[in-house]
């Protein structure tokens, strides 16, 4: 039994504990401990090595195996880490199915991350898809609808991948990852594989145009589940796309598949899909009035950055894309937790019904503040570092238009996360929230831990870049040069140095100067939130100062005409088409004269034979 076997076994044990014991508080704590032990076991595996599980299955003279490399290790770190904190966050959560479903997800994801050939990749891919449903079904009626929509998309994606795998098996007679190495397929075959694999996997990733399911499916389910799903679940799609790029169609092949000769290749198409997936979902997020949906839509948009970075496939871009997976998981989980701390206390996440909670829930506020700075990609949080790498790479590769799209996306992010923070924590406290308390410690400690991660890896990105580098090595790329504070570009002709420690020092000295100025200019007086005035009127409990409703009215007015709901329309049209086909085919069974069709069929076939 090697280290990978041990990890998978521990994951199974955690699963068992979660299913059997989660009815009691001790059991839930044990489950959380289980993830901690898994983390320890993960660190026992050397990320730079390749571990192959000793468990194998045979089918059709084919051996199905599982193995682990630096890339798997990196994603596994994020998966187990998130699961650990989310499980901790959920210890006071009573819903029985939650912990079991979470553990099933982690186990399925570990299987996917260690997939050693196409068949095990598909098996674990389907397991991950179905495991996700378990978490999505935890919510109320609308989450059930969302999960039904999700599974339809997911199975469609899965079937696309299956078709691709069947084609590979047919063309090469093998299901090993190296099946296609050294083979010269024709461009159409490569194009078919690219469409089937990348199309299928990007469904989970929520890349446009397959994004519609994601926000409701992730956002509307029970609290802690959302944190986990939003943080890592859709990144399994990214992992699978990387595997595709490594073993099925390389980026060079994609570059050679030209849609417009010498101008626009499939790779360019993917880059633009990624760019659009940044911009549109981000502005859709801006329009949301439910905090959970707002964040979930950002999850789709941030996925675009990761995809963009990877599609650059140079040292910086890929490092940025990979690092963004970690960073996004950390701040997104923290943000969702903070939102669910609010829901836990107030019972709502409607941004028009909150406000002023900073006075009652200061720790949750702090978490959200750190989280949104990370999400917006501003220093000193970790989101800045990864986005900076992606930007640098875009500029180095000479893609100013895509860079512009990415920046517009960031702008939209900043606007919408401010809306999130303002509408929930700033402004005036509502009367009904007067007696609210801070979330319990079982919830705030994991939140705060995540915030520490967001800040620490922002100031010292080298902590994470170490693992990013081993992932890059596993992908066969030249790794970036890093140090604790950031990146050096010595030895390469492209520019791009970053030292976050210096950035932070400068930033905080700015803050220090500002606070010295603030403190030295006279005294301020603390007032009650209701003891205030605006526009010459005193504000009281009946007449509040609350700007949350119809936030960004002007901006909304501008962007609204741009929304044609074409994707929704297309989805609806497709659904109607299937429904129509269904009605037609049912009428076949309802006919009064069944024999006519029989005779028609026989006559038609005879006609074919005789003619």
């Amino acid at each position: 039994m090697n280290a990978l076997d041990l990890l998978l076994l521990l994951s199974l044990i955690t699963l068992g504990a979660a299913v059997l014991l989660s009815a009691s508080l001790t059991g839930r704590m044990l489950t959380t401990m289980g993830y901690a032990v898994q983390l320890v076991a993960l660190f026992k595996i050397d990320p730079a090595s390749v571990q192959t599980s000793s468990v194998v299955f045979n089918f059709l003279n084919h051996t199905i195996s599982w193995s682990f490399n630096g890339l798997s290790w990196f994603f596994a770190l994020i998966t187990i880490g998130t699961a650990f904190l989310v499980s901790w966050f959920a210890t006071s959560h009573q819903q029985k199915m939650l912990h079991g479903a979470l553990a099933v997800n982690v186990f399925a994801m570990l299987l996917l991350l260690s997939a050693g050939d196409f068949l095990s990749l598909f098996i674990s891919w389907e397991l991950v898809s179905w495991a996700g449903v378990l978490l999505m079904m935890l919510g109320k009626e609308d989450s059930l609808q969302a999960s039904l929509r999700y599974i339809t998309y997911a199975i469609a994606g899965g079937m696309s991948v299956l078709a691709g795998i069947v084609l590979i098996y047919n063309w090469t007679g093998s299901l090993n990852f190296d099946a296609l190495y050294g083979l010269n397929l024709n461009p159409y075959q490569y194009a078919a594989l690219a469409v089937l694999f990348i199309g299928g996997f990007s469904v989970k990733m929520g890349l446009m145009p397959f994004h519609l399911w994601q926000a409701p499916a992730y956002g509307l389910t029970a609290g802690p589940a959302t944190s986990f799903l939003g943080a890592i679940s859709s990144r399994m799609g990214l992992f699978a796309i990387i595997v595709t790029l490594m073993h099925v169609v390389s980026l060079e092949t994609l570059q050679q598949l030209e849609l417009i000769p010498d101008m626009f290749s499939v790779r360019n198409l993917l880059i633009w899909i990624a760019a659009i997936s940044i911009v549109l979902p981000t502005f859709t997020a801006l329009r949301q009035n439910d905090a959970r949906l707002l964040l979930a839509w950002h999850g789709i948009g941030q996925g675009g950055y990761m995809m963009l970075g990877l599609l650059m496939f140079d040292r910086m871009g890929s490092a940025g894309g990979l690092m963004h997976v970690f960073n996004h998981a950390s701040y997104q989980a923290a943000l969702f937790m903070s939102v669910f701390a609010i829901i836990h206390r107030t019972g709502t996440s409607d941004l028009n019904k909150l406000g002023g909670l900073v006075a009652r829930m200061p720790l949750s506020f702090l978490v959200m503040l750190i989280g949104i700075i990370g999400l917006a990609g501003l220093p000193p949080m970790n989101g800045f570092v990864s986005k900076w790498l992606v930007y640098r790479s875009l500029l180095n590769e000479g893609m100013p238009l895509v860079f512009l799209a990415a920046v517009i996306g960031t702008l939209g992010t900043i606007l919408s996360v401010y809306k999130l923070l303002h509408n929930s924590f700033l402004g005036q406290l509502r009367l009904e929230h007067e007696h609210i308390k801070e979330a319990p410690w079982s919830m705030t400690i994991p939140m705060l831990l995540l915030s520490v991660v967001v800040l620490a890896t922002g100031v010292m990105p080298g902590l994470i870049l170490e693992y990013v580098v081993s992932a890059q090595l596993a992908m066969g790329l030249t790794p970036i040069d890093y140090h604790l504070g950031g990146i050096t570009s010595s030895g390469s002709n492209i520019s791009g140095d970053l030292d976050m420690i210096w950035v932070v020092v400068v930033l905080f000295s700015g803050f220090a100067i500002a606070s010295i100025l603030f403190l030295s200019t006279g005294k301020s007086r603390r007032v009650h939130q209701l003891d205030n005035y605006a526009g010459g009127h005193f504000l009281n409990a009946n007449n509040q100062y609350q700007y949350s409703d119809n936030f960004y009215a002007g901006l909304m007015h501008i962007i609204k005409p741009w929304y044609r709901y074409s994707f929704k329309w297309f989805e609806g049209a497709l659904t109607s088409l299937v429904n129509l086909a269904s009605v037609v085919s049912r009428s076949f069974f309802n006919q009064a004269h069944m024999l006519i069709l029989m005779l028609v069929a026989v006559t038609a076939m005879m006609a074919v034979v005789i003619i």
Binding site: E126, W130, S143, I151, T152, S585, R586, M594
Partner: protein, 498 residues
Amino acid sequence: MNQYVILTVVLPLLAAFLLPSAGRFSFSIARLIAPLVLLFSTYLLIDVFISNTEPFVLHIGDFIAPQGIAFYIDELALIMALAVQIFALLLWPWKAPGSDTNSSASVKQLSLMLLLVSSANGLAFSGDLFNLYVFYELLAVATYGLIAYNPNNDSGFDTGFDTGFAAAFRYLIVSATGSVLALVGISLIYFLTGTLNFAHLATLQTTLYNPIGLTAFILILVGFGVKAELFPVNSWVPEVYSATSRRLSALLAGVISKLAVLVIIKVMLFIFPYDEARQFVLILGLAGVIVGELSALKANDFTRMISWSSVGQLGLVFVAFSIPGKAGIIAGLAVMFHHMLTKPALFLIAEKWGGNFSLLNGQGRKTWLLSAAFVIIALSIIGVPPLPGFWAKFLLLTGLADNTAYLAMIVILIMTVIEAFYLFRVFNHLYGTETDTSGNILRHSFLDQLTVSVLTVLLLVSVVELETVNIMLNSMTDQLTDLNGYIARVLGSSGAGI
């Protein structure tokens, strides 16, 4: 020992006709005889199955084929016959359908069941078209009676005023017309070749490769297709399956339909191994998949949903068998056996789950055993790895890809998505909805729960024993595709009989 296989056809037939007389003496004896006969046949079949590795031929009355009647008994035939006995026992009408009291099934019903089993065994073993037709008709008669059977009526059967009557009548019309078509097809073959023995026909394949021969194939395909739920002649399916008892539906959809499929496949393999014939099977199969799955999408009760899904699944079986070569046979057998395990279980579950889907709300927690069984079976049907349904579908898809039948591949993959949608909707009702207002518990009888559990466990065991299943499928395929061996065994190596 081998010659005793004939008893599995004769004994149930004899018992079927003796049962009414025996029932006049003592009802309990009659009730006891029927399952005992089945148990005995099961024992015989298992014994023969274990003691034989090679196929063998039974010349009835020692009249040599092709003049005499020949039973050709290979692994596949034995397994199918075994499946008939076992499923007949599992799905035996211990209680009369539709009655909640403990009133037992009447002698008439038991006698019809025995007739069904006997003719099904005959269908599995027969080595010539004439006997196939006879057994098929016998089977049809037994089925009409069983569908129309109604214990609450004085006569024992539905009359014009009962629900089952319309279904049985429609079924009768379709099936009888199908039989006529098949008979015309068989006559055409006889007209062209002068023989009906499979082995003899196999040597005369070329005389049948002409428009008249292919017409005969089409007529046989559509004629026998009625019971195999083939596309244009399957419109009786949802109506009959929702009108009769679930146990009977389970038997018809699970086992009997497969026997009809095998008849068609044998005809295709031995007599018409031509691309044209395969094309027809492929197209009708695909049409069945499309129509079945799309109709199931809009079904508003559980029984109809699984009836339609059964139409779709049998379409898949036909698509698989239309692939030329061994790959097609293996895939077809895999899909077929998978359906044989899953569909009866689903119909048994439907026993209490009929009616609107909203009745199922919250049942996942109340009746966890059957709900879990349903989830496993449904996932397997969708083809979620590593459940057996996935491997069957994988074989099917690789087979199609090998023959560049990409369109068929696409259709099957899309229909899988639809399948997943409507089955997952049921999961939602079972586990998701928290607002369960009815508060009722849909508890199945202990026997049903046991049967469903056994079938589900079998399904799971086959995941672990994938290699064994693979070996068995391969050996069945080898025997089925060994045409020269077949001819030699039936006609003697010298071809003495011809």
